[in-house]
């Protein structure tokens, strides 16, 4: 049975796609990491997030056809499957995940955070849709800090280039008080989301911070941050999670309520969307609960203290963009994972390395070695892809996971011996 927050989210998404199909407002395509949803909302613009459409296509079994379409059009099998899935979808009529046709973009907002492929993706869409592109170059946190120069560069771009360009698309001036109002709503939702994440520290964990977690981040990563609906959703979700925790219950899984939790894991890397439930079941049936994950932080590292700030709207938008998980250096990512492993009491960590995403994947084998050395906690490594089912080897992944769980048990037995 679905919980109230799930039903609420489902309706929110359906309403959003209906608004898009009705083309009630101008539409801006943009990306999840470093998205400027409050700014778009304050200007009355509707966001479309091609990554979300791609993952939804993957979950609905449509991505293989879309990828084939893009490869027929000349795109290499080597490159990101999100890009090809999105292009294939548009070549097939741009029918979105809910079955309704998506409108073409009035503009592309290229918030270039943590992924070089974004830049090429929107160059391709620009050629296709012949619409304006606004670039927001977000510097990389190579040394693990946001310098005043980096913040100034992003703020200046926002004020001098991004806002004027979006005002032109919207046909109206930005009302900064409306932007501030939305940022305050964002912070409210972010507080509740962090409480949900941190519930994973409890034993048993009332949440699955990866498979369940991707549903939890749905509204805040997509079109709803800074809205009343999102604030209501996260308040309701938090209540549900706290009630579950009070009852000593675990999260819901594809096979029903989770039973005894034998393994507490931290996971790095995105999930494989084409076999999402199969993948999840490989964990839940073994009693493995994911207590924290990094993928659910690609749209913002709220649990590390960041909040959108209505008092400093542009500075906080800049810090948000600069602070997304994949905009952090590898040493910083290792540091965060180490922190999660310790704070969430994990007895193993797993890396799901996806072929499509170099931003995530390059360096993960080294991350695993360093984390094992630092924490003494066993690490597992599996490979799959975001939405290209050709790279999901079910038997192979299942075998590896079995070995990984056995390794955790063996270590546990050795410790208690």
């Amino acid at each position: 049975m679905k919980e109230k927050s799930q039903l609420r989210q489902k309706k929110m998404i359906a309403d959003h796609f209906r608004r898009l199909a009705d083309a009630t407002s101008n539409v801006v395509y943009t990306f999840v990491p470093g998205n400027l949803t409050e700014l778009l909302g304050a200007l009355g613009l509707l966001p479309v997030l091609p990554e979300i459409n791609a993952l939804q296509s993957g979950m609905r079994g449509k991505s293989a056809g879309y990828i084939a379409e893009a490869e027929k059009a000349g795109h290499s099998e080597d490159v990101c499957s999100y890009v090809k899935c999105d292009l294939g979808m548009s070549l097939k009529g741009n029918v979105g995940p809910t079955g309704e046709r998506l409108p073409p973009p009035n503009a592309l907002l290229l918030s270039y955070t943590g992924c070089f492929t974004f830049m090429k993706w929107f160059e391709i869409l620009r050629e296709q849709y012949k619409c304006p592109v606004t670039m927001l170059h977000v510097p990389y946190q190579a040394d693990g800090t946001i310098t005043p120069q980096m913040r100034k560069y992003v703020v200046d771009q926002l004020r001098r280039e991004v806002v004027p360009a979006l005002e032109k698309v919207a046909g109206r001036k930005l009302d900064e008080s409306e932007l501030a109002r939305r940022l305050a709503l964002s912070a409210q939702a972010e507080n509740d989301l962090v409480a949900v994440w941190e519930a994973g520290k409890q034993k048993p964990s009332p949440v699955d911070g990866y498979f369940g977690g991707v549903y939890y981040v749905g509204p805040i990563f997509s079109a709803f941050r800074g809205t009343m609906e999102a604030a209501a959703y996260y308040s309701e979700l938090r209540d549900e999670v706290e009630a579950r925790a009070a009852r000593g219950e675990g999260p819901m899984t594809p096979d029903g309520p989770m039973g005894p939790q034998r393994f507490r894991l931290v996971v790095e890397g995105p999930p494989c969307w084409t076999s999402f439930n199969d993948f999840w079941s490989m964990f839940s049936r073994e009693g493995a609960v994911v207590v924290a994950s990094t993928y659910t932080r690609v749209g913002g590292l709220y649990d590390q203290g960041f909040r959108h700030d209505p008092e400093h709207p542009f500075e906080s938008l800049a810090d948000y963009c600069l602070g997304c998980y994949t905009n952090h250096s590898l040493p910083a990512r290792v540091g965060l994972l180490e922190k999660y492993i310790r704070e969430y009491g994990a007895d193993g960590f797993l890396i799901n390395s996806v072929k499509s995403c170099n931003s995530f994947s390059v360096g993960q084998l080294q991350m695993m070695r360093v984390l094992e050395e630092r924490t003494g906690v066993p690490g597992g490594f599996i490979e799959s892809d975001l939405v290209d089912s050709r790279y999901f080897g079910k038997a192979n992944i299942s075998n590896r996971l079995q070995s990984f769980f056995q390794m955790i048990e063996a270590r546990r037995a050795r410790r208690s011996a």
Binding site: G74, F116, S359, L365
Partner: protein
């Protein structure tokens, strides 16, 4: 008659193929206290490094002459080859003479490699150079100027000379001289490709990424003088442009194979990093040489798959290159799993289709060993250009 350029070319080849980077160690012996600074390909402001008394040393991985064993264990199979051979070289000590390595913002692989380097080789400074993707002087320009100052300060802290305007101006002037000679070399190859083959021009350019501008200029002068004395006559070859391998380099044998298949490669982007700024860097138009360096990157930057297109039309630069080189067709030669090149390629192919320019595409990795299929494909392409091309 003996080839007058043979000895110079042999020396260049030896330099390019030396995976121990012996010349760097030699250079440090003759420049006590000075730093050798490695950098990954595509673009790094070499005049700035030279102005601080450093030797810039480009790193292009290990090519096809290196057995990659340990490097492979750091990367999944779907990641390009350059980082694995680069890590291999690092682990076996080939970069021990380098004091720092600069990682320009080229792609996600090079970006993450900068973090790996910090953890693997903490003795060396691993500097990530964030190149702006906003090209307005007030925004991207101001940011880039700060990045360059930050780089200069980091190198100074490591023992390099402080950056001064005079030294930077002189280094820019030396770079301008080198670029003028590279232009001359390009013109020879374009106008008389039988006098200087692409594979030879490749050695001449690539060797320059291991030398300072002055030494490279001297070598180029010598080479140009010698190739001018070469006898020869035109071959009946197709004139092609090769694009897409600006970071990971094709094996030298692959470049030779393209030539042997009946193609004169009249222009390419193999060594784009050395040619990332087009034309002279004009110091006299700016308040400081640093401003000149910044402006050159913003205003005179060569379009590449790693650089945001801005308002320009996709492929415009490629069409200009084709016209300038009087090329009959284009060979896309991208490294396997090179996201920037491979994502760019369909857009560029469309531009060529619209302009009626024939093209073909080949993928490689730096240690590709099978050249025969490439020879057949390029040979057939060259024949088709000669039979049905516009010449």
């Amino acid at each position: 008659m003996n080839d007058p350029a043979a000895a110079v070319l042999a020396g260049l080849r030896e330099l390019v193929e030396d995976l121990e980077f012996r010349h760097v160690a030699e250079w440090k012996k003759t420049h006590p206290g000075a730093l050798a600074v490695g950098h990954l390909p595509v673009y790094v402001p070499r005049p700035l490094l030279e102005a601080q008394g450093c030797l810039p040393v480009a790193i292009f991985g290990g090519g096809d002459a290196l057995d990659v064993v340990r490097g492979d264990s750091f990367f999944q199979s779907y990641i390009c080859h350059l980082p694995r051979s680069t890590v291999e070289l690092g682990l076996r000590g080939s970069f021990d003479a380098l004091d720092a390595v600069v990682f320009p913002s080229t792609c996600d692989v090079i970006r993450n490699l900068s973090g790996m380097w910090k953890m693997l080789f903490p003795r060396q400074e691993a500097f990530y150079l964030d190149l702006p993707q906003d090209f307005s002087p007030e925004l991207g320009g101001a940011f880039y100027a700060e990045e360059l100052k930050r780089l200069a300060a980091v190198l100074e802290a490591r023992g390099a000379r402080p950056l001064t305007d005079d030294a930077l101006e002189a280094a820019i002037e030396r770079e301008n001289e080198r670029q003028a000679l590279l232009d001359e070399l390009a013109a020879i190859r374009r106008d008389e490709p039988w006098r200087l083959r692409a594979s030879e021009a490749y050695l001449a350019a690539r060797a320059g990424t291991l030398l300072d501008a002055q030494e490279h200029a001297a070598t180029l002068r010598e080479l140009i003088a010698k190739v001018q004395r070469r006898p020869g006559k035109p071959y009946d070859n197709a004139r092609v442009l090769v694009v897409g391998s600006f970071c990971e380099q094709p094996p030298y044998g692959l470049v030779r194979t393209l030539e042997q298949s009946g193609c004169d490669i009249v222009d390419d982007d193999f060594q784009l990093g050395l040619r990332a700024v087009r034309g002279r860097i004009r110091v006299d138009c700016f308040g400081s040489p640093l401003e000149a360096l910044v402006s050159a990157f913003l205003q005179q930057g060569t379009p590449t798959a790693c650089r945001y297109i801005g308002k320009a039309a996709k492929g415009e630069h490629l069409l200009t290159q084709i016209r300038t080189a009087k090329a009959d067709g284009v060979v896309f030669l991208a490294a396997s799993f090179c996201d920037p090149a491979l994502l760019d390629q369909p857009m560029l192919e469309k531009t060529l289709d619209d302009a009626g320019v024939p093209h073909t595409s080949v993928k490689f990795s730096e240690n590709t060993g099978q050249f025969q299929p490439v020879r057949e494909q390029a040979g057939a392409f060259g024949d088709s250009l000669k039979l049905w091309g516009t010449r």
